[in-house]
């Protein structure tokens, strides 16, 4: 596996898709940093925490996930497109080691996209916006959870490439998945955010009378539980929650342990499925 990893690392800077992903990640980070600085100049209250954790995406827009997906699929898919996966198999590298090496590389791509943002956020944010509002414990817990979510993303992207065996198709599928998961997250979050009661005003005998009426669309305990599980399961939703936590400078209300366990479960299941599928594949 070391030999495979060495080859992948040497290939990374030469892969246009990866370079473009990193460049766009840098532009994303710098753009947000500039917005933060301008906001501060206009006396809009914004903390470094928000800028920092936008590394996981803006509310409703999972750009880092999309960039990681594009970079991973173009990198791993190149071996299928150019046929160079055959070189690895012919000289005796096992399918398991090839799969795991690609997975590690995808993880590296995803975490690098985050690191680019973190570096820019600290460079631009700390001098202008000041230090973190959240405690260091909260920051570290969010980072650990975010890292696991990005690893879960990487394992899913790797699985998609292996199943599709086509670089372009893999990119399209991963982008669609991130977008669909993003929409689902927005809808489910909105569902959970509904108030149980809402205020109504009636005119009785010419006088306005306010009363609290139960929201008919308020999710019941069972629905709420299921929705919370889904939101804590999907990598996109996890990252949105972390991004929101940064924006509101608190990790309160997040089920970090549950999110981490779901991420680990997704990593194990998708990697296992990917290895199984790859070992059975007839390559041309």
């Amino acid at each position: 596996m070391l030999k495979l990893m060495r080859c992948n690392i040497a290939r990374l800077p030469r892969e246009n898709g990866v370079r473009i992903s990193f460049l766009l990640a840098l532009l994303y980070a710098v753009g947000l940093g500039a917005v933060a600085v301008i906001s501060k100049v206009r006396n809009v209250q914004l903390a470094t925490d928000a800028l920092f954790f936008y590394a996981y995406g803006l509310p409703g827009l999972g750009i880092p996930g999309m960039l990681a997906g594009v970079g991973c699929c173009l990198f791993v898919g190149r071996d299928y497109h150019d046929g160079t996966i055959r070189n690895k198999l012919v000289i005796g590298h096992s399918r398991v080691s090839i799969y795991l090496t690609n997975l590690l590389t995808c993880i590296g791509i995803g975490l690098m996209i985050n690191l680019i943002h973190f570096a820019v956020a600290l460079f631009m944010g700390l001098p202008v916006l000041g230090g973190f509002v959240m405690s260091w414990r909260e920051v570290v817990l969010l980072l650990v959870t975010g890292t696991l979510a990005m690893i879960a993303y990487a394992s899913l992207f790797n699985l998609v490439v292996v199943l599709s065996r086509n670089m372009t198709a893999a990119v399209i599928i991963t982008l669609l998945c991130v977008v669909v998961m993003g929409f689902a997250t927005s809808i489910l979050t909105a569902l959970l955010s509904q108030p149980e009661f809402y205020e109504t005003v009636e005119i009785i005998n010419g006088e306005p009378v306010t009363s609290m009426v139960k929201n008919p669309t308020y999710p019941g305990p069972a629905v709420r539980f299921i929705v919370e599980q889904i939101i804590d399961l999907l990598p996109t939703a996890q990252l949105y929650q972390l991004s929101y936590a940064g924006a509101y400078c608190t990790a309160e209300g997040l089920h970090l342990l549950r999110m981490a366990l779901y991420a680990v479960g997704m990593i194990v299941l998708s990697t296992g499925a990917g290895i199984w599928a790859f070992r059975k594949q007839d390559l041309k």
Binding site: R6, R14, G83, N87, V90, I91, G92
Partner: protein, 305 residues
């Protein structure tokens, strides 16, 4: 006799289609083994199994004594192999030198000091930073061969390496393969449709049809087995056919004016017999059966390779 590769009842099925069926093949060390078969015969499927790209559904093979069912042993022994399967496996966005470097990294070679020499050996020196996507087909083939040679293999598999090449390119690849075999003592398995080219290269032949190896023969035995004949051109082949049947001679009609006569025949008596029927004997030439004719006769005549 030492064998580089031996297949035992090797079979490959794709759902309901049997691509390889009970295939038994033996490749001697140091041989240039020509694998001949028509389109869809199973040549590329066999090569894919040998190269580890696909798993057999039946049977097994031995590669330098390692059983294909033993994954660990196969991983070890595959380091002695190189292959170009169908299209060259090269990174199109990288130069020749970078492609070789990537292969060295996969092989665990600490440095790329031999890359320039390897590229010179295959005739690709001086390509500089030119990306492989800008190479001609012949250059890509040669780069594919260079990558296959990067690990100093003892056994190299080439799947139709001269497909799409111009005559100059075909000659260069042929010279390269002969050089590899003679100078570096590399065993070569080469599949090709171009029988004329294969006949100039191969020391052994394997004829494959409908997923089965129907004949394995050395070049020396093939030469001995190829029948001499007298190829005659006449003005009326129907009359010729009647005369030859009357004389109980072994023959084959080639066209409406040509026939090959395999039995010994007196040309003068034949000419007289034909003249008696008012038929002209236009030409009579001695011919050796070539690889193409041997192959066509083997698989049942008239089939395109």
């Amino acid at each position: 006799m030492e064998y580089c590769l031996q297949t035992r009842h090797l079979g490959k099925r794709y759902r309901h289609f049997r691509a390889l069926d009970d295939l038994n093949m033996n490749i001697e060390k140091g041989a240039i083994y020509g694998l001949i078969g028509r389109n869809g015969a199973g040549k590329t499927t066999l090569i894919r199994l040998i190269c580890g790209l696909q798993n057999p559904t039946e049977g097994s093979f031995l590669l330098y004594g390692a059983d294909s069912r033993n994954q660990r042993a196969m991983c070890e022994v595959r380091r002695r192999m190189g292959a170009v399967v169908e299209t060259p496996s090269i990174y199109l966005g990288m130069s020749a030198q970078e492609n070789v470097r990537r292969q060295y990294e996969l092989l665990g070679r600490p440095d790329d000091s031999g890359a320039a020499e390897l590229l010179r050996y295959v005739g690709l020196s001086g390509t500089g930073n030119k990306k492989a996507k800008d190479f001609s087909l012949g250059m890509r083939q040669r780069l594919g061969i260079a990558i296959a040679l990067a690990g100093n293999p003892d056994f190299i598999v080439l799947d139709e390496p001269v497909n799409g090449l111009d005559p100059q390119g075909i000659v260069e690849i042929r010279e390269l393969i002969l050089k590899l075999n003679r100078e570096m003592h590399i065993t070569v398995l080469i599949s090709s449709h171009i029988l004329g080219e294969l006949s100039k290269l191969a020391t052994h032949y394997g004829f494959i049809d409908k997923g089965r190896l129907i004949k394995e023969i050395s070049a020396a035995d093939l030469e001995a087995a190829c029948r001499k004949c007298l190829r005659v051109t006449v003005s009326d082949v129907t009359v010729l056919s009647r005369i030859l049947q009357q004389k109980h001679l072994d023959y084959r009609i080639r066209s409406d004016s040509e026939a090959d006569i395999y039995s010994p025949v007196s040309i003068s008596s034949l000419a007289m017999a034909l003249a008696g029927e008012g038929v002209d004997l236009i030409r009579a030439l001695e011919q050796d059966e070539d690889l193409e004719t041997y192959y066509i006769n083997l698989i049942g005549g008239g089939a395109a390779c």
